[in-house]
């Protein structure tokens, strides 16, 4: 066979082999895209301004978000044995299963999420890369923050002082435990890693539920020690934002607006006590 005849056949064969071999990573990319869409909707749904724009819109957004998380789970659980083996060989299976864990968590399927995360961190589990490992380690804290939120927002069965005290203590314990876990994880991260911004905001989310619980259950503001912690968390976020290098003016303004939202929802008074 001459080179002229052989060339297109070689190129065609290699291209076909390449496409076949990339099927499993492509499926994972689809799942990643679906997850990003779901997470973006999830976060936006809670954006202060959009909440104000109307209950109807928020409900629609919530439905799309849940559908997107469900699609992630379905895509990963529906993978063939061959696709999973391929992902395992490429060290991508850990990423796929982390997406499933996070989706289960966001759908409120806490027990399933916890069990799946435990399996992923057990010996012999598929290899999990740096960011994903941090998220799996953070999962118990993230679930506790959700539980604190649910406890703080759920109506009381009776209006007894005892129930109020018990409920508040439960919220306080969940928030303290979650923040303790996140503090340990934060101590292991270089200061300007993007995951740091995420972990700090998770702490601020916990602080928000605590602040609301004190108001709702005890008609009071935060005790000094909790207010101090909230201030610390907020200043850590402000510092993190200021340390982000290479941002355009527009990106910087957007991030500052997100930081301002946290200040507003937590009542952080920087005039009286600026971040040092």
């Amino acid at each position: 066979m001459s080179w002229k005849l052989a060339r297109p056949r070689i190129v065609g064969a290699v291209a076909a082999a390449f496409l076949a071999a990339c099927a499993a990573p492509s499926a994972l990319r689809d799942a990643q895209d679906a997850f990003n869409t779901a997470a973006s909707l999830d976060n936006r749904e809670r954006s202060a301004a959009e909440l104000r724009s109307g209950e109807g819109q928020a409900a629609a957004s919530s439905l799309s978000r849940d559908a997107a998380y469900a699609a992630v789970i379905e895509r990963i659980e529906g993978m063939t044995w061959r696709e999973k083996s391929r992902l395992q060989a490429d060290k991508l299976l850990g990423n796929a299963l982390t997406l499933r864990v996070l989706s289960l968590w966001r759908l409120g399927r806490f027990d399933e999420a916890r069990t799946a995360a435990d399996k992923l961190t057990a010996p012999g589990a598929p290899e999990v890369a740096a960011r994903d490992r941090t998220l799996l380690e953070a999962l118990p804290a993230l679930i506790r923050i959700d539980e604190a939120y649910l406890k703080a927002e759920r109506p009381l069965a009776s209006d007894s002082a005892e129930e109020r005290t018990t409920r508040l203590a439960a919220v306080q314990l969940l928030v303290d435990t979650a923040n303790g876990t996140l503090d340990k994880l934060l101590a292991k991260q270089p200061r300007q890693e993007p995951v740091v911004g995420y972990l700090i905001q998770s702490q601020l989310a916990a602080d928000t539920s605590l602040l609301r619980a004190y108001r709702k259950l005890q008609s009071s503001t935060l005790p000094d020690i909790a207010a101090e912690k909230t201030h610390e968390h907020f200043c850590a976020l402000q510092t993190f934002k200021e340390g982000r290098a290479g941002l355009s003016a527009e990106e910087d303004r957007a991030m500052q607006a997100a930081v301002d939202d946290w200040q507003a929802r937590l009542g952080v008074n920087l005039d009286e006590k600026p971040c040092s």
Partner: protein, 591 residues
Amino acid sequence: MPAQAQIILFAMQSAVRLGAAARRAYVDATLARELVLPLPSFVAAPGIAAALQFFSQSPRMLAEGPRRRRDLLDKALVQRVQLSKDENDELVIFYMEVMVSTWRARDGGSMADGSQLSAAGLDALVTVRQWSRGADPNPSAAQRLAGTFVSIGVQYFTQVPGALDESSRSGRALLALLRGFEEIDFATEPLGKLPEKLFYATLETVGADPSIATSDLRVQKLISATASSLATDVHERIAELRAASGPDSNQEERIQEWAELVFRSVLGSAGRLVAGDPEGYLGIRDAASADAVKTVAGAAIALILDQPAGKLDQVFTRDSLDALVRASLQVAARHPELFSGVHEPALRNMLAALAGEVGKFERVLQPNALPRIAAAVVAETARNVPVLWPELATDPRKHLLVTAATTAVELLTREWPAGRWKVKLGPDQISGVVEAVVAEVAATPGWLFDSVGKQNAQLRVVLEAVVGVLRARGDARLNGDTAAAILRASLAAVATRAEFGAQLAGVPAIASALDRVLAQLFEPALDPKAAWALVRSEVVIAIVQSALAGLAARGVSQAEIEKTATTLREQIDAIADGGAWTLESVRKALS
């Protein structure tokens, strides 16, 4: 012209390799993709809890501002009365007005029209990549693909017959270089521009000295072994550097540049040694010769790169590196066992110890001083390895010549108490004396060890005493060159006649003899005519050498030393009286 079938086969293999590299890059990119992370649940809208938390921290707000706000705050925070829903909403509006005006005062930002902005900002704050910056363990897609192209190129030229013209000098040399690269995976190993640099270095070295690129297979193996060893070394160093502190282009370029310089030096030096003595040099087994060359290249690169950046970078030039490499290769030819197997790190350890110990002294860190000393230590080591280097790799500080060089450098660079005139030796003079010390100790290890192997301080005692005499007796007529020559003469005298090292009136005899000779030569009240005649460096050196030679011949004793001093005094008086004299006549009188 390569055969058609071979080209097709090669193209298929290459296409498969490229496809695999592209797929691997796709997999890496999939794992590294950014994810938008969902935050846990929380109520986002600022409410009455936030408003009261804010105002409760600001006593000023309770006393100042709109009347209605003050009333609501008094009710909620002072009287602790539950506010109605409308009152709550009203207070939240007051709160947001304060927040917005604060932000506006800060930078014009506002909550009212910033909803899209804050949502985008939140996304940005929770979008997280897989790996920390610089911590991605996988090579970039560009490196994977470019590296695969290079590997395919290497494979093409080494495996397809006729791809490189093996009848030409440069073709043979390049083929040898490429064979050195055959085992390297360019797609995953961070080598930067090293292959390119070694490619040009090979062509330039061969072009500058055609004798190197003979058809001798040993030279070709030498090129392959050196290139392969340096590429591996560079890859390991860059990988270590990245693991420790992330990518650093400056440090990586420094590693590559030194590897290139060492490659040129090894190729040039070893090539010439083989060409100059094809039967004798590297006439050892092939495997051993390859090991020797690799070891020398590795030791040379480690000598510079294991020191902090900048410490030795300016100390070694191409010439001084050549001298060190040449000396090492000559030792390798005589003692291949020192460069392979368990002893493979010995040379590297020895040079590291030398750079560490001797390099502490600022004046030997001038161009050429340290390299000259290192070359002397390496070259002289071959004279008597079992005695001079009894423990090889285990403790290079027990290398006699390293000890001797360190002792000499320390004494020659020491700052002495102020005397009437301080002799200061320059880097060249220091390295000259140290070379002499190293040669003397190599010939007579007794300078450092006695007959039963016990360590003694003879070298230190003698050198210290001689330097002491030079500083005490020398004046402006004693320059650095003269002082260095006298030091060398003193060492030679002690080596020739052990009695010079023995103690006479509390000092080594050599110091006593030198002191008496220099006392006559540098007498402050010396007659001007005699001083004029004796000021020249070569006259001082010749007189010292003759006086020491005479003592060595007659026997070293206090009486003989005094006799020598008297003879010299008489010669000087004769010169002062205007009598006829020649240097030869003075030397004869002293002998």
